[in-house]
Symmetry: C2
DNA sequence: TAGATTGTTAATCGATTAACAATC
DNA sequence: TAGATTGTTAATCGATTAACAATC
């Protein structure tokens, strides 16, 4: 009967985690919702509401213990658990993520990377050998892979996702520019980079029009 | 006095754009909000409300003309305009984005890439030479750069963003894992990849706990 | 014209903010 | 104890959904 946590709250958790991690590294011991509010530019009320979704982490008259709260949120995010992760697609983006993401640091164990391009087979990326795509399903089954990172073109993404699900993957981090349709017990998080760039383009565009509308003085014709 | 468009609506525009593009490529001429609703798994009501934020694109009894709507949304997103774009940081991620994003296809003109690492200087990436970071500000000024893509470590991201703003950049696509503080007339879109991975981790973790709670039959002790 | 479907207003739902009693 | 600040309830605000009159 636990009340469902809203997407809005979940979306904010990683940011709290980041700020608390920084405070911890700076040696800050305690923080009140009001101080955190000023730091993060969100209301203190929202902070307290958000945290209370998961139980009382604070203490009246004191605030929150930074280290304790940091650990608690990390645990809510599941970062205290190990997750086996593979990358599907050893192209530019797949390689970049392997090298850049520092997966191990947060308990994500990167154990395999796959590609259809046989020129890449055997190449080492972050200490891991690129394997042929045909071995993917067997690998997932044998190694209890939790997360597959999809960095392949959208044309093959849907069918590959199907194969991953079939082999028992529990979550897909999807960089392909297409919506995946998977069973409800498989989690999907989309990173549609071009959508993000388009939003930026929208903001530039809107700003242009607002200023043009507000200040049509400049004799432009 | 134009009503401000909510973030929620803006966030959905790129997805509409994508689906309409696909319909257009398939040769579909018209679509009703109800058909689009089924396709995209959002309510028809929301679709009509969203579009109406920008004016009436449809026609009673007919629906929406796919090509017209596609073009209209593209123009709302500013994709009918050219945007000059540079990449700051020629590491794994910067190179991957340069090669992978197909910037030109949507009117983003990639003209420069910068790095502090002198070993990279002069190397060609997507036909563009890696330049030393010192040349960045002059380059922005001389080439009327609109967008800077920040793919550098978080330690230097804030100060580099400051320099970019000073040089007159209008928008920052920020991949550094830090919040930037820029004037209101500079647009920022954050892509915090680890936040995204953490959300995925949360979903796996929550699913585990729900199933554990719902089915404690499995004699695990 | 009759049927379909938009544009738009009204109703509902959910998320954010404000307020304050509980309590450290 | 007095002061501070949480946890939590109530009020407000905004976003989504439903309904339907307008109109193609």
């Amino acid at each position: 009967m636990e009340k469902e946590i809203s997407q809005a709250v979940i979306g904010r958790l990683p940011r709290y985690f980041r700020f608390l991690g920084e405070l911890k590294d700076q040696g800050v011991e305690r923080i009140s919702s009001q101080e955190l509010s000023r730091l993060m530019h969100v209301t203190a009320s929202q902070i307290r509401q958000d945290f209370n979704n998961f139980g009382g982490f604070g203490q009246q008259g004191y605030g929150y213990n930074v280290e304790y709260l940091y650990t608690a949120i990390g645990s809510i995010l599941g970062l205290d658990k190990k997750h086996h992760l593979i990358i599907i697609g050893a192209g530019n983006l797949g390689q970049a993520l392997a090298n850049y993401m520092n997966f191990e640091r947060r308990g994500f164990i990167f154990t395999g990377i796959f590609d259809i391009n046989e020129k890449l087979h055997g190449r080492m990326i972050r200490g891991i050998q690129v394997r042929p795509m045909e071995e993917m399903q067997a690998f997932v089954r044998e190694n209890d892979v939790d997360i597959a990172v999809l960095t392949i073109p959208k044309e093959s993404a849907v069918s590959t996702a199907g194969k991953l699900v079939e082999a028992g993957v529990r979550a897909i981090w999807n960089f392909a520019h297409v919506d995946l349709d998977v069973p409800a017990d498989v989690q999907v998080e989309n990173v549609h980079l071009s959508d993000s760039l388009f939003r930026l383009s929208y903001m530039i565009n809107r700003y242009d029009q607002e200023t043009k509308a507000a200040a049509p003085k400049k004799d432009s014709q």
